[in-house]
Subunit: 685 residues, 2 copies
């Protein structure tokens, strides 16, 4: 446990929640890495589709990228007003749940969940792929490298979103600074040279025109370039991570991400055209990415080039972080609606949803192991979930504004709503169209898998909800408590041996009920003589029955049950069944004395029969049975050892903690005093 504390940090108190929320500085690395990393492969993907056109393809990259940046602008404006309308959580799940109904919201949730898992796998794999192509001697270690980065990102996020944001700030801002500089220099040179800059290192010469640009090719190129846009929705899904005022920090983070991404995309398209850079075939030797060609053309291959490429590599590898921030928060909301298992909604040690983080890590880890760390094949599946949720979220917002327009009174509000409506409607239409293009263009390449996976996820979500509904139906509140059956339980004191421990159990049993049956289970170690049985009966008569009669108490019965299969639960459950048949409604309390093991070696020293019996009795005993565990210690424990003591800096430093709620018991002392006195005063009467 000490190791866990060292890796993950101390357990945080609820009231530290506000101190753990992030601002813009952490927000950009935490949520933006996916979006920023996209700038590396979005333009590359669009240019790759244009390869068949040869040099003529360069003419199209401008308009295509302009369309993509335009779409980015629309998405920015849409999400800006979406998070204003849903400042606690403006993600597609909530927006479509509120406006489009449960089923559509589950479609959005499934799309997002699949996309977040793919983003982890594809992002880390792309980063490692770039690293390996830069340092070929690392080739045999692709899988360990992928898993290592996965573990790093997982631990950072288990420590908290703030820790992850701060840890990954350096590579993020280094990437932004160096590429802004490269693009700035490039643009300045282009302008200064009248559109004909001289590259420091020339990109490979362009092939002659090899084909003509059909509409389908251009649409395909556009659809591929759209992968640059995945990650824009991250802020809306992660709003709950921001500190107050959340709207301000959310908007700033969204603006920062979109602005940087827009500049990168525009700059890359502009320079590719003027430096005459095309995508190279990845499968041929000597391959260089578009960004690498571009950086070499602008600044040569000095130290600065390597710094820029290293920061790009980090951003790619860490783009998984966006998933680790958003996926657990999404799962929490879905779990709170009953469509995912409840553990997804448990707030973990560091105030993040640890189960979601671990689930994401395990799923991505399995994908890595199955694909050997090379997840290229998953890339086609990638943009679909993003554009599906874009479309759903925009459509949800359209419905939102239509509703708002109905209830709006004054013309000024109406005008504002109409403007909002126009933006979201444009967004919904364009992202919807883009989605159709993407699905159509990539269906054969693997998009069909998404079309199978997403409905499967939705079915699973419904199954989960059905389970909880069934559970809730059996548990639903019962109204006033019934106090008519006040009969004491029949108490079974179970043991394999008689000693002080069982003595204590028996004497406690006397305080619970007049009806006690002591059960001694024999033959646990195979056949044994009758001698032992006789000894036990003798002991019983002398040490239990006689003192009980002397004290005027009904002496309990001793029952010797033979465990023919050396398992205690068999004969005991049979006895419970007989007792249930006899007393239809009486509770049967099974009292199990148990030696408490406090260390691993002590656990090795015992057979754990009491613990196993406890679990079997609960599993098969039925509603009339309760099981009472009575501990016995070799060394009396200290309650203090189990209670988290707060480090002094938290108590002193946290300005937000109100004195009245310092800690559970102190805050409630009056309550507790009353409760305690209600027990004792009654006995004074």
């Amino acid at each position: 446990m000490a190791i866990l504390g060292w890796i993950l940090g101390r357990r945080l108190a609820n009231r530290e929640q506000q101190d753990r929320k992030i601002g813009t500085f952490e927000g950009v690395p935490a949520m933006g890495l996916d979006g920023l990393g996209s700038s590396a492969y979005g333009p590359e993907a669009a240019l790759t589709i244009l390869i068949p056109l040869g040099a003529a393809g360069l003419a199209y990259i401008g308009p295509i990228m302009a369309a993509i940046v335009g779409l980015l602008l629309i998405l920015y404006l849409s999400y800006r007003q979406t998070i204003a309308a849903y400042p606690n959580n403006g993600g597609s799940y909530i927006v479509s749940r509120e406006n489009l109904g449960r089923n559509i919201s589950l479609l959005a949730a499934a799309g997002l969940m699949v996309d977040y898992v793919l983003n982890v796998a594809v992002g880390i794999s792309a980063g490692v792929g770039a690293l390996v192509s830069a340092v070929p001697s690392l080739h045999p270690y692709i899988l360990p490298l992928c898993l290592g980065i996965l573990v790093l990102v997982t631990i950072a996020n288990l420590r908290g979103t703030m820790d992850a944001g701060r840890l990954f700030a350096l590579p993020t801002y280094l990437f932004v600074a160096s590429f802004m500089l490269i693009l700035g220099i490039g643009v300045w040179r282009t302008v200064a040279s009248g559109g004909q800059p001289v590259p420091v290192i020339s990109p490979p010469p362009l092939p002659a025109v090899a084909g003509t640009a059909g509409l389908w090719l251009l649409m395909h190129s556009f659809a591929s370039g759209c992968t640059a846009m995945t990650g824009v929705e991250a802020v809306s899904n992660g709003m709950s991570a921001f500190k107050e005022p959340t709207l301000r920090y959310g908007r700033r983070t969204l603006a920062a991400i979109c602005l940087i991404l827009g500049l990168l995309l525009g700059g890359i398209a502009f320079l590719a055209q003027h430096y005459r850079i095309l995508a190279m075939n990845q499968e041929k030797e000597g391959y260089q990415s578009v960004l690498s060609q571009l950086a070499q053309a602008v600044v040569g291959d000095g130290v600065f080039y390597y710094i820029a490429m290293a920061s790009l590599l980090c951003v790619l590898a860490l783009s998984a972080n966006t998933s680790f921030v958003d996926f657990p928060r999404l799962c929490r909301m879905v779990a709170e609606d009953g469509f995912l298992p409840r553990p997804f909604a448990v707030v973990g040690r560091r105030l993040v949803f640890s189960v979601g983080i671990l689930y994401l890590a395990v799923t991505a880890g399995i994908l890595f192991i199955v694909f050997g760390g090379i997840t290229d094949r998953l890339i086609p599946l990638f943009a679909i979930g993003a554009f599906l949720t874009f479309t759903l979220s925009q459509t949800g917002m359209v419905v939102h504004w239509v509703k708002a327009l109905r209830s709006a009174k004054d013309t000024r509000t109406r005008a504002a709503h109409q403007a909002h409506l126009a933006v979201n409607a444009a967004g919904a239409t364009i992202t919807g169209l883009a989605l159709i293009v993407i699905v159509a263009a990539k269906f054969k390449e693997g998009a069909w898998i998404t079309v199978i996976v997403i409905p499967t996820v939705i079915v699973l979500l419904h199954q989960v909800r059905r389970y909880y509904d069934r559970l809730d139906a059996t548990l639903r509140e019962a109204g006033p408590i019934s106090l008519d059956r006040m009969e004491a339980p029949v108490v079974l004191v179970v043991t394999e041996r008689w000693n002080k421990l069982t003595d204590k159990a028996l004497s406690f049993a006397f305080r619970l009920s007049p009806d006690i049956i002591a059960v001694h289970v024999t033959r646990l170690a195979g056949e044994e003589g009758e001698e032992e049985e006789r000894a036990i009966r003798g002991m019983w008569a002398k040490d239990v029955e006689a003192p009980a009669r002397a004290a005027g108490v009904k002496p309990p019965r001793l029952l010797l049950l033979s465990a023919d299969y050396r398992l205690m639960h068999g004969p005991l459950l049979k006895l419970i069944k007989e007792l249930e048949d006899e007393f239809a409604d009486r509770t049967i309390a099974v009292l199990l004395p148990e030696i408490v093991k406090t260390s691993w070696w002590q656990s090795l020293m015992h057979t754990h029969r009491a613990r196993r019996l406890h679990s079997k009795l609960l599993q098969f005993g039925g509603s009339n049975v309760v099981v009472i565990s009575m501990p016995w210690y070799l060394k009396e424990p200290k309650i203090e050892d189990a209670i988290i003591t707060e480090p002094s800096e938290v108590r002193a430093g946290s300005t937000r903690s109100e004195p009245s709620s310092v800690s559970g018991l102190h805050g409630a002392t009056d309550q507790v005093r009353q409760a305690i006195s209600s027990c004792s005063s009654d006995h004074d009467n």
Copy 2:
């Protein structure tokens, strides 16, 4: 669990114990494989030491092997009378415990335990080594082969000694038959040819005389040859595996093993001399074992040669089985004396001591993984444990007969005892001398490790015993039960939510005690509003306090405790501490309602807070706390599902089961009826 049943077979009842005991047929494969396998490497080891002598070495193999066979005869006679004197278990541990005292017996136990573990590792490794040198393409799979055989032997023994004996009977008897035939043919040809048989395939020509035979070399050769004797003690340690009359079957098995081993050793020595076969250097290419050379010389390399060598290979690989039969039985006895953890004495599913079997398998598995499946280096350690226990057991028997002589009256008994004494004294002296030679000869090769390991094991055994002694001191029988403190406990009903389940818990609490505090733990999912608290208080006043007052019962207090760290046990343990401070001696019963999970997927759906709270309360609550688990089922379980139903052939077929003890409850029905009626009749009053 169904898979477990398929692999290990159904759980056996105590009364099937007799049917599971073995006779001579199973005894030889089960316990003899170690001894028989020794015939392969004992003569080889002795001859290897003689390599430096060249052809002259052949002259010494006769006397050396004669000494070894003589020692074998003495051991046979000694063990024959040892198992007669201790027919239930004549192993060194028991014999030295009874005659030489506790500390010496622990020395014997430690020596045996180390030896059994080494035997598993060395035996399987030798078998796989032989296989790999026969089929070199298997070389990359040494470790998987070792582990695979280990798993096979482990499973066979977990199914029971009888299953293992029957499974391994075929290779054992095939080995015996084929080598008896080879030796028979060889001896017949030697005699027929007047001592100069013509080999079918000639062994490699002998080198010229290269050195002279000093005493030390001959002693070293003898000591190495003595490894052929390990495994002779197996029968004495495994006596409890035999069916009645155990002495007869034990003696027959011992005689069979010793006879076969003696014939093999003698035959090998005789033929090696006449066919002029020496050991070859294992590290040189073209290496062939002595047995392989010998078989080729006698019968050529036809099919029969391959059958014989394959059976030898099986016997070597399966010689680990002897350890799997004896080690768990030894550990059981040591555990029953309190020197090993109790789980070693638990009779498992198939009436064998599963924990010992699994421990042996895991330890050997670790050795395999550490040494990569090649455990040659462990061989020098091997014979020491065996000869240590030979000596201790013989010495113990000497003391036994000396004592018996003192109490013997008539001269005939005295004479018999004196004869026994003489045999065991001779055995003790010779095995003791052999032990000294072995330790001296092999000290540098690694025997010093044993000299460190065995004392370490003894220290551990004492540590275990100290723990149990301390435990027993705190638990020792308490005399008459005390009934003076009959106050009802303070009951805490704990929950994170209020519903039918907590309702049931509360209404059960009313039956236990008038002093009830209901504890609702809040803020488990981070900060939450006061709204919820108000709702709970309202519900409490209406649904609990009002009905309680109406029924004339003291209404329980509701306490809202804030879980600042989202863990239920913190605030609860604090409350318990306050209660303990207030009521020094009253028991505090914590009532935990719990939804019972019956399948793996159901387990995934819940947060398991009740279960974790249960464990923390037991661990830290202290002696005044008991924890009551109250189950809630989504579907009421059937007790019948938990009870083992016997297959009909067992009930009908087993002639030994007495009708009165057919099964726990049926046999005890009268008892149970009485116990039950004692509960109900009282209430009729």
